[in-house]
């Protein structure tokens, strides 16, 4: 008891000292205007798969658990949890007195509803995979629930970071087609206010938020579908918070104006860029062809040319910081001669001397598609196009507007190759992307990759809680994927956010800067948007 009092006392003293030292107390008010090229597709969190939707849902909703700034799992709507010894069940103890933005109380029923929706085959969610492993879902009382798995399932706990939806509003609704998608009600730090299509979304701070009232009163998400226009807006201080392109970071934000008015951050992003082959295409089914392309593309050149050095080469689908990343996997050197030799071995030869290889009368020519609005991807393709031409492969580039890109080309598998990026979650489980059962329409294994050993390892990796054992499985997957090249792994770009300097309290952690968003604040004297 005394010890307890003592710690509380030291903590209080420390806190007081901090406050005096830093000379601030939380200032409420002001608005943050964030600018982005993407418009959310839906604000039903279990359907949201693009980063714009994710950004908004992350402010309006909460999961049961979340990652803190050091990437440890911590409670969000769940106050605490217990995992049984055999790893087969998790018991969550929920926070009490949490209210939805409309005043209803949040209970275990809402979690149950969200879970039922996730496994409902009629709901078009890409996240069902993690929840299919659940065998029993038991609501013990309003604030306790018990989840039982068929077999030990290590990504299970983090999968409950999924945002929870309100049962009382959605029970009668068809989730695929509900007005809620444009007018969400959550439990999160910000309440939805309005959405003007193609223009902006506005959120208001939730004064009753269970972790305390967020300091910034309003969050405005402006949609400006062009990086150059977005940058001009930043320059005229029409937006406070954007992601810079490498060129803007290196060359356009060095002036006095930017140094005085903005703060820049740089940290590894949780994602990588790759070119995925359509493995149903006979020419890409030949492993030697895929390896040849890997030899012929100079990744360092792309990183220096496109990212201006602000990123690293990727050798597999894991983040270089992750324990799942196999440091033994070395990126192959750029070696066009080897590429040519491999192609020759595979039967591709330039018989008519036009500089393009042929095999069985067909030219080696393919089209890579990518989405519009991302200059880095287009530039990456132009560099690759040049390098592949040198070994006799004719690459054509097609840039397509995002929603048509996903629904018409990716989902329907109408592509030769595709240049895209994956954002990654903290748990290395990638069953949905690489397992051979996930190749159906709309599912994530759209390249059609199938390897029995990878399938087995993916299952193994999610079946044990022992990190060393999991690491073994993922290290082997990493090796196989680099060897087999179902993707041409390109780079891990750095995240390059810039934020107006009136915002204080931004802390860079392993998870980036968003983790303490509700503590960001603007000193009263510097507030810009006051009403």
């Amino acid at each position: 008891m005394t010890r307890n009092i003592k710690t509380v006392f030291t903590k209080a003293v420390f806190l007081f000292a901090m406050l005096v030292l830093l000379g601030f107390r939380p200032d409420y008010g002001d608005a943050i205007v964030s600018g982005s090229i993407g418009e959310p597709r839906t604000l039903v969190p279990i359907l949201a798969s693009d980063s714009a939707s994710g950004a908004i849902c992350g402010l309006v909703f909460n999961g049961l658990v979340k990652y803190d700034k050091d990437l440890n799992l911590t409670g969000d709507l769940a106050e605490r949890w217990e995992v049984s010894e055999d790893g087969l069940s998790i018991t969550f103890y929920l926070r009490k007195n949490v209210r939805w933005h409309d005043g209803e109380e949040f209970t275990a029923k809402d979690v149950e509803f969200t879970y039922r929706s996730l496994i409902d085959p009629d709901v078009r969610t890409p996240y069902s995979g993690d929840f299919e492993m659940v065998e029993g879902f038991e609501v013990v009382d309003d604030y306790t629930l018990k989840i039982i798995y068929k077999e030990p399932f290590s990504p299970g706990l983090s999968s409950w970071g999924m945002n929870i939806m309100p049962r009382h509003l959605l029970e009668e609704e068809d989730l695929n087609n509900t007005g809620f998608a444009r007018q969400p009600i959550g439990t999160g730090p910000y309440k939805f206010k309005s959405w003007k299509t193609g223009e902006k979304l506005e959120l208001l701070s939730n004064h009753d938020y269970f972790e305390g009232r967020p300091c910034i009163d309003r969050y405005i998400y402006r949609i400006i579908p062009d990086q150059a226009t977005l940058f001009l807006e930043l320059r005229s201080e029409g937006v406070d918070y954007v992601s810079l392109t490498p060129l803007q970071f290196e060359r356009q934000t060095q002036s006095m104006f930017f140094r005085e008015n903005f703060q820049k951050f740089r940290f590894p992003s949780f994602g990588y860029t790759y070119m995925g082959y359509n493995l149903n295409d006979p020419k890409f089914q030949d492993l030697r062809v895929r390896q040849a392309i890997n030899y012929a593309v100079d990744k360092e050149e792309i990183i220096r040319g496109v990212l201006l050095g602000l990123g690293r080469a990727a050798t597999g689908p894991f983040l270089p910081e992750s324990w799942a990343y196999n440091r033994e996997v070395r990126a192959t050197e750029y070696d066009p001669q080897k590429a040519k030799a491999l192609l020759k071995e595979a039967g591709w030869q330039d018989l008519d001397a036009d500089g393009i290889l042929e095999k069985d009368g067909a030219k080696f020519s393919f089209t890579v598609i990518t989405n519009q609005g991302n200059e880095q991807r287009r530039m990456t393709l132009e560099i690759m196009q040049r390098r592949l031409k040198e070994i006799g492969i004719d690459v054509r580039i097609k840039v397509i507007e995002w929603s048509a890109f996903v629904s018409e080309f990716i989902d329907k598998r109408r592509f030769d190759a595709v240049l895209l990026g994956w954002g990654l979650s903290m748990d290395p489980d990638m069953y949905d992307i690489w397992h051979s059962s996930k190749t159906g329409e709309g599912q994530f294994n759209f390249v059609g990759y199938s390897n029995m050993e990878v399938d087995r390892l993916l299952v193994e990796g999610r079946r044990t809680f022992d990190q060393a054992e999991r690491a073994r499985a993922y290290h082997r997957i990493h090796e196989i994927l680099y060897e087999e090249q179902p993707y041409l792994f390109l780079y891990v770009p750095d995240a390059l956010p810039i934020i107006h300097s009136r915002f204080k309290g931004i802390e860079k952690g392993a998870a980036g800067i968003g983790h303490n968003f509700i503590k960001w604040h603007v000193p009263r004297t510097e507030q810009k948007y006051t009403r």
Partner: protein, 264 residues
């Protein structure tokens, strides 16, 4: 002789020569990527600077002239062919042929051309050939109207009656006598049409739905320039100027021809 017309003709010939002689004029390979020299300003080595992949802007502009002018010429060729065919049929046969064709022209004129083009491109793939076709089939209405009006008056002339009296076929009368005599105003319209087509191609490429990379056209160089506006002024200025001057050239030439026709 009109001085402006000579300037216009000079510009047109100049850019025409640049396009034809592109491989000899260009100082670098327009596709040569050089990541050590990204977005460097105009210098001795790169007289107009380099783009965001270190490619020589001058060489890309020179090759871009080929694409831009080619698209202009072929698109206008297509539109002139359609316009002359339909216009002469309507003018010569009159009555229901005329009524139907001219109503069709009216319908086509109802659509804002640029949006029509955008809609068609959404269905087809953006490629140089498609761009030329689309611009061609959406811009022939002016030519059709001009030809029709000319032929309406020409076909009442004595030499046409004479031709008919000696038993010449309709096709012969139209192709040998009516169209050649009706060409003068069409020539003006074609010249102005090239300028318009170059602008449309540039606009489409600027929007990213025209000529696809890595093929340089003035429009897509300009579009890349917009992305790096603050860091590299040369990327917007030079292609912008090239488009401006070329379009000006064709317009001056067209206006000049028109004035001379009016006078004679």
């Amino acid at each position: 002789m009109n001085r402006l017309m000579i300037i216009g003709a000079g510009i047109v010939i100049f850019f025409g020569l640049v396009a034809v002689l592109a491989p000899f004029i260009a100082s670098h390979d327009p596709g040569q990527i050089d990541i050590e020299n990204i977005l460097t300003g105009p210098s001795k080595e790169h007289i107009l600077g380099t783009d965001s992949l270190g490619r020589d802007l001058f060489s890309r502009m020179v090759f871009g002239a080929r694409i831009s002018l080619l698209v202009g010429l072929i698109a206008v060729g297509i539109s002139a062919a359609i316009g002359i065919l339909l216009g002469s049929l309507a003018g010569y046969y009159g009555r229901w042929v005329d009524a139907w064709i001219m109503r069709f022209v009216d319908i086509m004129l109802c659509f804002p051309t640029f949006f029509l083009i955008l809609a068609v491109i959404a269905l087809l793939e953006p490629s140089i050939v498609n761009i030329m076709m689309i611009i061609g089939v959406t811009s022939w209405m002016g030519v059709a109207r001009l030809i029709r009006a000319e032929i309406l008056s020409l076909k009442e002339r004595d030499f046409i009656y004479a031709e008919r009296a000696i038993g010449a076929s309709d096709i012969r009368i139209i192709t040998r006598h009516l169209i050649p005599n009706a060409m003068a105003p069409v020539l003006v319209s074609i010249t102005l049409g090239i300028a318009a087509a170059i602008l449309v191609e540039s606009s489409l490429s600027f929007l990213g739905i025209g000529v696809q990379p890595p093929t340089p056209s003035w429009g897509n160089i300009l579009s890349e320039g917009k992305a790096v506006m603050g860091a590299a002024w040369w990327m917007m200025l030079f292609p912008g100027l090239a488009i401006f001057i070329t379009v000006l050239g064709y317009n001056l030439l067209g206006e000049g021809i028109r004035e001379r026709l009016l006078r004679s």
